[in-house]
Subunit: 256 residues, 2 copies
């Protein structure tokens, strides 16, 4: 008899996010689900881990086929606790999200949602991060759910290739407005920071981090930003190993 699939779910918007709830609903169709998610929003935490204060886990729900835990740590802490403390064996898949807001282009680097997927990849678990291009707490995840299902099915069917996880971004729109799935590369871009400089009541300066995304290249049709602008769901294979193999050979010629 085939063992029931076990799927680990996390996010960075926190245990109460609508995107997480929407993801759990779809994922339960595939097997047993364990959720370990931050107790509050930990967006922009990237791959940060917690070493200076103790981590705590709270049981939120336990029912047939679904266990939900919240944790006071980062998304990567949640994955580590799940893989090395809460679970007996490796899950068959890790899914992270559905993030409220884009993680396309360079945003992948700052994203806790994608860091969780990368952490899954480091631990050889097939991992996918999902994000919807809508930052609002009340975003509509119905169409996103359809694509989550399609992509998870494909990954269960084909397995995920060694050394990668998937960064999936989904445009806003009804099902018939989206044009399908496109395999893309990450757009070359950066966040243009415009720090909001203010003065506190004690006359000391402080700064709020604000900014907007900028492309560093014209939008070619193989980039994720192009795909999203044109209402495709973008899928970028993310390299778990950060080595630039193409540059290694050049560097060897430097003769240190």
């Amino acid at each position: 008899m085939k063992r029931e699939k076990l799927i680990l779910v996390t996010n960075d918007d926190g245990i109460e996010a609508k995107g997480l709830e929407s993801l759990i609903k779809v994922v339960r169709e595939f097997g047993k689900v364990i959720v370990v998610a931050p107790e509050k929003s930990r967006s922009g935490m990237s791959h940060a881990i917690t070493m200076k204060y103790p981590l705590r886990i709270e049981t939120v729900k336990k029912e047939e086929g679904l266990e939900i835990y919240s944790c006071n740590g980062t998304p990567v802490d949640c994955v580590k606790l799940a893989l090395h403390q809460l679970l007996d064996g490796k899950p068959d898949m890790l899914v992270s999200g559905i993030n409220h807001g884009s993680n396309a282009s360079v945003s992948v680097v700052y994203s806790g949602t994608m860091a969780a997927a990368i952490e899954g990849g480091i631990n050889k678990v097939p991992s996918i991060g999902f994000s919807l291009l809508d930052y609002s707490a009340e975003a509509d995840f119905n169409t996103a759910g359809i694509y989550v299902r399609r992509i998870m099915k494909k990954v269960f069917m084909n397995g995920i290739q060694k050394g990668i996880c998937l960064n999936v971004n989904i445009p806003v729109g009804k099902e018939d407005e989206l044009k399908g799935i496109k395999i893309c590369r990450q757009t070359d871009g950066y966040w243009q920071e415009e720090f909001d400089k203010r003065i506190d009541p004690g006359k000391r300066e402080y700064y709020w981090l604000t900014g907007y995304f900028n492309n560093s290249e014209p939008l070619a049709d193989d980039t994720d930003e192009w795909a999203l602008l044109n209402k495709f769901v973008s899928v970028v294979p993310i390299q778990i190993d950060f080595t630039s193999y193409s540059r290694m050979e050049e560097l060897k010629k430097w003769k240190f």
Copy 2:
């Protein structure tokens, strides 16, 4: 007349770390130096950014050719503040470190030192992260300084290739004990977490994150862990763009 070079320095061990002081000493030989570093240790912060509380900058020192600022944010916040707030133009180089402890293999993903270098790369600044394989606060950075100088010279001479930054790890040892510089790939490995589970006075469980590094592969002589074990300084070119180009073509055959 050639403009004097401007070098941005940061780290993740904080403004008072000996590794930072050692780095500043070497870097000043190359030009004007501006340091923006976390006010206290922010190890393991990876690429985290601060959006929920305001950032503050304190002037630590201003003298001819050297300005030092501390910041209450993460290493990446420091780089962003430097590039987008404190500096008029782009620096000629960003150097981060010298980290107290290894950032070889998969540790690159968790490292604030290396996240700062990656952030430099995203902003098209030639960037290098330096780490010494000694976690102690009183580590001896003399030999490391020799390699920092050699590698910075080479990078100023050759320029850094598009799309990468450098992850430099330096073994412990006197100058004549080290065997030179080796261009490497990142070893496939992971941190085996062994959470230290305890009970607090209120009878509630909590966990300390602990663990040790594990290779996921036998140590081939092109890996950074092999190089370091054999007393070479390892230089890994780190890809700023996270796309796995080799997997993109395979994925396109999936026919979603």
